[in-house]
């Protein structure tokens, strides 16, 4: 009863490719479905005239509007343009990256035609996705949700974590905690298992964009992270990229056409590759067909699972070293690991499973939790713990997290003097003494770094401060006591004082923000001001996208070689989609004038009417040609049917079905 009076806190898995939201209530984790009924929502934002679409609607724009459709924000967040990882992906992304004055990564998008491009920070893009998750949860729970736990890859550094937290704030969320994805998965698993027995479990989390391994010691409600490792740039997307590269080469061999600079063709190949990858998880061979990929030529070939494994071998090779590292860090042999839990979409690839199974001497891997949902489920559990949930299950259940990377200070040699070792449970406090490096030194600079490399230049600088007015003395005579204090949120405060003169002291709470606080406040305000406007914009945009999408479907049908139209029907079809394109433009322009809710309902009436008019003409024609070809025309729902036939032009991936239409139109 107490439960119902307190607002719930939600758990959000902000994934590279998909995001997922869950809540713990009624003594269990409930996965929250989006408007289309799916528990996973694409982490994609698309800017079209009039506003931004998020999730499924944005995914539909990937092929159509590649320059203004942003994915992969998670790999950009908390990064500098000069970072090696950014330089590497810069040319591969269909949208434009730029740097601001401080070298931070920004994304350029065209919001209005013929006007200068707008600039967005990755935090803002992630915030739009988080806001969508918040909205979905609000509908499900029946009240506005504010408290949330968000997950990040275990190997995210402080900057990336803080930037994610800022994204949450911009989205209007009160971020209770940022936790590691594999840790979250283990919480979901353990709450389910409810075992008092003391065990070592290894979480192998291979998702869309990142790869994480964590080793935990669990039992009796305790979940203690022992070691964690991984690669923030290794996931399903990289597998897709390998396939894309292969098909570009093969297409050139077969046709002489080089599509490596054709963004739209590349996007079509990429979407097909994602599908091919899924098919090869169950089949041993598949056809890969894309009609009219470039200058009238089709891509048409076969791919076997063996060849697929061969292509992705360089990626598979990078999966084992992090496992060896966590075992070494925790000082545990692989035979001591009782349970290996597989999480993340990429663990569905059979070769990945075999590889891990072999590594653990044929051990049966645990697939008992849904790899797509486990992380959000765990985040929801942590949210319940922090929200003070009093249910029996949660009360005696808790997570003991660790520092993911070592923390230390730069010394005069350019070396890193570690003060807190990685994998130390938090909160924690440690002290270390430092001495002056030269005679008559009057100022000492403390530069705080995180990372494992022996030289600070290879680690991340978190912040610095100075102690000045040091009394002149021979080198080594003045000692400073330096204290590192890290709280349960992973926020680090470093302080130091002069031992001979304790009043001479200084400290910083390490500021790991990529964006200055002022900018964040501005973005938060912007985001809140637009609340009602956002709701209107979303409805309008979804309507426009749905309408355009229906027109595209008509064009696709028109080109389908199996459907035989009479000359009269052909003419009518052409007129219909030409008319449709015009109406889409009118709807777009009209959409810009929609401001209030009243205005909105008039707009939606108009939109429904236009769609019905269009359907009245094309439905009978399509019905006839389908029947004649021995096929079935299922109206608006047809798009979903298109996807089921792997031989069709596959510009759409699994979740991008036209159920979107049902939600909007029925």
């Amino acid at each position: 009863m107490v439960e119902s009076t307190k607002k719930k806190a939600i758990g959000i898995d902000l994934g590279t490719t998909y995001s997922c939201v869950a809540v713990y209530q009624n003594n269990r984790v409930e996965m929250i479905p989006n408007d289309q009924g799916f528990t996973i929502t694409p982490s994609i934002v698309s800017f079209i005239e009039g506003g931004a679409a998020v999730g499924n609607a944005a995914q539909m724009q990937l092929v159509k509007n590649p320059k203004n459709t942003i994915f992969d924000a998670k790999r950009l967040i908390g990064k500098l343009m000069s970072d090696q990882s950014i330089q590497k992906v810069k040319g591969l992304l269909p949208f434009e990256l730029a740097r601001d004055q401080e070298d931070r990564v920004t994304i350029k998008v065209e919001e209005k035609k013929d006007q200068p491009k707008s600039t967005y920070y990755p935090e803002q893009i992630s915030a739009m996705i988080l806001k969508e998750m918040k909205r979905i949860a609000g509908i499900y729970l029946g009240y506005e949700v504010t408290d949330a736990v968000i997950t990040v890859p275990a190997y995210f550094n402080q900057k990336q974590r803080t930037a994610t937290q800022d994204a949450g704030k911009i989205a209007g969320l009160n971020v209770l905690r940022i936790i590691n994805e594999p840790t979250a998965a283990s919480l979901a698993f353990e709450l389910e298992a409810q075992s008092a027995e003391d065990r070592y479990i290894l979480i192998f989390d291979f998702g869309g964009g990142t790869f994480d391994v964590s080793l935990l010691s669990v039992g009796d409600g305790n979940n203690q992270v022992l070691a964690t490792n991984g690669d923030t740039h290794l996931g399903g997307l990289d597998i897709d990229t390998k396939l894309v590269e292969y098909f570009v080469v093969e297409f050139k061999k077969a046709t002489g056409i080089d599509v490596s600079m054709e963004q739209q063709a590349l996007n079509r190949i990429r979407t097909t590759c994602e599908k091919v990858k899924r098919i090869l998880s169950t089949e041993t061979e598949t056809d890969v067909t894309i009609q009219n990929l470039s200058t009238g030529k089709d891509l048409d070939m076969k791919l076997s699972r063996a060849k697929f494994v061969d292509l992705i071998n360089p990626i598979l090779k990078r999966l084992l070293p992090p496992i060896e590292d966590v075992l070494k860090d925790a000082n545990i042999s692989k035979n001591q690991v009782q349970e290996v839990i597989m999480v993340g979409g990429s663990t569905k690839i059979p070769r990945v499973r075999e590889l891990i199974k072999d590594f653990f001497g044929g051990k049966i891997l645990n697939h008992s939790i849904n790899p797509d949902e486990a992380v959000a489920a765990g985040a929801a559990i942590q949210a319940a713990i922090l929200n003070g949930d009093q249910s029996k299950q949660i009360k005696d259940f808790f997570l003991l997290d660790v520092v993911p990377l070592s923390l230390g200070v730069a010394i005069s040699t350019g070396g890193m003097e570690t003060v807190i070792k990685r994998n130390t449970p938090i909160p924690f406090e440690a002290k270390k003494g430092f001495k002056t490096a030269s005679d008559n030194q009057t100022a000492a600079e403390f530069k705080v770094y995180e990372g494992e490399r022996p030289l600070v230049k290879d680690n991340y600088l978190l912040g610095d401060f100075e102690i000045t007015n040091i009394k002149k003395a021979p080198k080594g005579e003045i000692t400073f006591d330096c204290k590192f204090d890290i709280d349960a949120n992973g926020i680090l405060t470093v302080s130091a004082y002069d031992e001979k003169n304790p009043h001479n002291q200084n400290k910083i709470t390490v500021n790991t923000k990529t964006l200055p606080q002022k900018k964040i406040d501005e973005l938060i305000k912007q985001s809140q001001d637009n609340k009602e406007l956002d709701a209107v914009t979303k409805t309008v945009l979804d309507a426009i996208i749905s309408f355009e999408y229906f027109c595209d479907l008509l064009k696709k049908k028109f080109k389908d070689r199996r459907l035989k139209f009479t000359p009269q029907e052909k003419k009518q079809m052409v007129t219909s989609f030409q008319q449709g394109d015009k109406i889409a433009k009118v709807l777009k322009d009209y959409g810009k004038t929609v401001v209030g809710l009243q205005n909105l309902s008039r707009y939606m009436e108009r939109y429904h009417q236009e769609l019905r008019d269009l359907e009245a003409i094309v439905n009978p024609i399509l019905e006839r040609v389908h029947v004649a070809a021995g096929l079935q025309w299922r109206g608006r729902k047809e798009c979903a049917g298109l996807l089921e036939d792997p031989k069709e032009d596959q510009e759409l991936s699994k979740t991008q079905t036209c159920q979107h239409f049902d939600g909007d139109l029925d």
Binding site: G433, F434, S438
Partner: protein, 118 residues
């Protein structure tokens, strides 16, 4: 109000001072002869009791947890535990600084910046 919070602060400081003098074995509530499993179990039980997530806003519990955490760090590491048993807190500090007197030289243990103006 101000006086009471000052007192509270003072009390906390005294408490912290007391706690920091405490022996690691006493902190975890285990005997010197206890094995790895005993230490781990004790640490877990106390974690659940004092971890800040289970005691939101309670500074005392948080400070206590940090002490327990430090005690566990030492006693769960065979090398550190041995030095602590034989040479006490001082020996432990020596070990953590890099062993004996090897690195006591100023250049090795110094920080960087020299202000040029002065």
């Amino acid at each position: 109000m101000a006086a009471s919070s000052f007192l509270k602060c003072l009390l906390l400081t005294v408490l912290l001072a007391l706690v920091s003098c405490e022996d690691y074995y006493q902190l975890l509530g285990v005997g010197k002869e206890s094995n790895e499993g005993d230490i781990k179990r004790a640490f877990r039980k106390l974690s659940l009791k004092y971890h800040p997530d289970k005691n939101p806003g309670d500074e005392e519990a948080s400070a206590k947890f940090k002490q327990i955490n430090r005690a566990y760090e030492v006693l769960s590491d065979a090398d550190k535990r041995q030095v602590y048993d034989q040479q006490g807190q001082e020996g432990l500090e020596r070990l953590e600084r890099g062993g004996d007197n090897r690195q006591k030289g100023p250049s090795a243990r110094a920080d960087v910046h020299v202000s040029l103006e002065e």
